[in-house]
């Protein structure tokens, strides 16, 4: 039972990550292959503040949101100048840079040794170390993220995002400031992903750079693309399938040294198959623009 709750918690965290990535990639049409950077920043912010400075977890999480949004806004810089695969490459580079910082800025992050002993979330005297209580927090996070994203994309702001996605020239010609919209959507995306990072840190109670590699950004992109661009429900479904399902592999008793690469191979294969046969993913509403 505990294990099921753990999986559910992870699914919720990754659903939030996928939905926040969908904002930039699916709705605004800005390919971001460095999303794990925001996840990383959020996780380390909360970990460092709670372990290193004795802050309470809610404060750590709030700072994770803040720093995630700042990182997001900064990471939007390439999107203001580049498009298509050049933009994808630049965002990938951003992910590499953040990962390198996590791995090498040992004074702050303890490098490859990671940060252990991250406290579980507690409100007053009630400590949420029981799996069920923390799972509730994770579910709440996913629900809040879904609601927030839905509110944003179904509003005039969301309409502007989609216009930028469909044809940025047209959007600009009607007076939409594509730069302002891009910065804001990246900031929002970063904030939500940062919160996911903080939740992850407090749930697993140990983080190290190996969770936030550039390859992990690819996995996040896979989840979003698999669920479908422009579909928040799709992101949630994809997280369930792609995160929940492989956990079952552990039950099969395969050694970890095999499960790790096998899982990533499956992800890679799925990515290729999606691009070949169903680029719109499961529930995707928008097709990649097939005319240059």
């Amino acid at each position: 039972m505990e294990y099921v709750l753990h999986i559910l918690t992870m699914v919720c965290i990754y659903a939030g990550l996928a939905m926040s990535l969908n904002l930039t990639v699916g709705f605004a049409g800005q390919p971001n292959v460095g999303h794990a950077a925001f996840f990383c920043v959020g996780a380390y912010t909360s970990a460092i503040l709670t372990v290193g400075c004795g802050a309470s977890p809610p404060l750590g999480m709030a700072c994770a949101v803040l720093l995630g949004s700042v990182t997001g806004a900064l990471a939007s810089a390439p999107a203001l100048r580049l498009k298509g695969d050049y933009l994808a490459l630049a965002t990938f580079g951003t992910g590499v840079i953040i990962h390198a910082l996590a791995k090498n800025w040992v004074a702050m992050t303890r490098g490859p040794m990671g940060i252990p002993g991250i406290p579980s979330v507690s409100f007053g005297n009630v400590t949420l170390s029981y799996p069920s209580a923390f799972c509730a927090v994770a579910v709440a996070y996913a629900a809040v993220t879904y609601t927030l994203c839905h509110l944003v994309v179904s509003s005039p702001f969301g309409l502007a995002l989609r216009a930028i996605r469909e044809d940025e020239t047209v959007a600009k010609s009607t007076g939409i400031s594509s730069s302002a919209h891009k910065i804001l959507v990246f900031a929002l995306s970063g904030a939500l992903a940062g919160l996911a990072g903080a939740l992850f840190a407090h749930h697993i109670t140990f983080i190290d750079p190996s969770t936030f590699t550039p390859m992990d950004s690819l996995v996040l992109l896979l989840i979003t693309v698999f669920g479908g661009m422009g579909s928040l429900a799709g992101s949630c479904l994809a997280a369930l399938v792609l995160i929940g399902f492989p956990e079952i592999l552990r039950y099969l008793g395969l050694p970890v040294i095999v499960v790790g690469p096998l899982r990533q191979m499956a992800y890679g294969l799925l990515l290729v198959m999606l691009m070949l046969w169903r680029p719109q993913g499961l529930l995707g509403k928008y097709r990649w623009s097939w005319c240059t």
């Binding site: 390919p31 292959v33 810089a77 390439p78 100048r81 580049l82 498009k83 298509g84 695969d85 050049y86 994808a88 490459l89 630049a90 580079g93 951003t94 590499v96 840079i97 390198a100 910082l101 791995k103 090498n104 550039p214 390859m215 690819l218 992109l221 896979l222 693309v225 040294i257 095999v258 790790g260 690469p261 096998l262 990533q264 191979m265 992800y267 890679g268 294969l269 799925l270 990515l271 290729v272 999606l274 691009m275 070949l276 680029p279 990649w288 623009s289 097939w290 005319c291 240059t292």
Partner: protein, 289 residues
């Protein structure tokens, strides 16, 4: 001290040059970032390792095997993944993401097969190295330089003097125009992937000999190859080499001043900087997107 820095930078630059040459050769034909080239390089290294374990013999046997294996993989990727996408007229971004997927798949397949640990192609006692104008250069490093120069010269001659080379240059300059005058891009694509991937395989094998093999080596190598290409002006062959040497020297400098662990970050910061400020590279020959 400075000489050692320069030599180290040159050695790294040579490896990156081989990577960048292969990458640029392919890019000129297909016009998107063939990120999976990183996995092809990795396979080259590991294939060289397996060949030497199985066959023994001098180093060049391993290198040749690495080049061949890499070439086959590169061609297979084009045939199985990129060609169908070309038929569907997919946008560049779809190609790039498919390329990422291939990279993920192949790199992990290699890790599954060989384990996550570090392997080396070095055999025999560690040689002392020779003194070259105040810097120490090992045998492996000399081979790296010689191989790079040799292959670059061969590639240059190929592009300049052979019929295939002319066709490759025509497609690189203007794919549509080339097809109008009857040059079949398919043969050029096959040639680019074959030769480019082989160059990558050599790079992988040389890295395995000069330093180490590990399954994740492809990522840093392809990123540096891409940085070198972009810095040098993405479609320019001489630019790619210039960019590679520059990156190698910068890295060497960073290793000396800030510490080796910051090399990657500085390199990628250079990449992001170039993409933002000057995507046409220093040779300025790339087409604007």
């Amino acid at each position: 001290m400075v000489q050692q820095l320069v030599v180290n930078g040159l050695i790294a630059g040579c490896i990156y040059a081989l990577v960048a040459l292969g990458f640029a050769l392919i890019y000129r034909t297909i016009r998107f970032f063939h990120f999976a080239h990183g996995a092809v390089i990795t396979l080259g290294g590991y294939a060289a390792y397996t060949a030497r374990n199985a066959l023994g013999g001098p180093m060049w046997v391993g290198i040749v095997f690495g080049a061949l294996a890499a070439s086959v993989l590169g061609l297979a990727i084009d045939c199985l993944v990129y060609r169908p996408l070309r038929r569907r007229k997919a946008p560049d971004l779809v190609f790039l993401i498919a390329s990422f997927g291939v990279f993920l798949f192949v790199q992990n397949a290699i890790q599954l097969a060989y384990g996550p640990g570090i392997l080396s192609l070095k055999t025999g006692p560690i040689s002392k190295g020779h003194d070259l104008l105040g810097a120490i250069v090992t045998d492996a490093q000399i081979v790296v330089i010689v191989t790079t120069v040799l292959l670059t010269a061969i590639l240059w001659a190929l592009l300049r003097f052979t019929d295939l080379g002319r066709r490759m240059r025509a497609v690189a300059d203007d794919s549509l125009g080339a097809s109008v005058i009857g040059i079949n891009p398919k043969s050029v694509i096959v040639a680019s992937f074959g030769i480019g991937s082989a160059l990558g395989g050599v790079a992988g094998a040389l890295v395995g000999w000069e330093t180490n093999l590990e399954p994740t080596m492809g990522l840093t190598l392809i990123l540096k190859g891409i940085v070198a290409s972009i810095v040098g002006g993405i479609v320019s062959i001489p630019g790619a080499i210039m960019g590679a040497i520059l990156i190698g020297l910068i890295e060497s400098l960073v290793a000396w001043t800030l510490g080796a662990q910051w090399q990657d970050l500085v390199t990628f910061a250079v990449l992001v900087g170039f993409l933002l400020l000057r995507p046409t590279g220093i040779a300025g020959l790339a087409r604007e997107r």
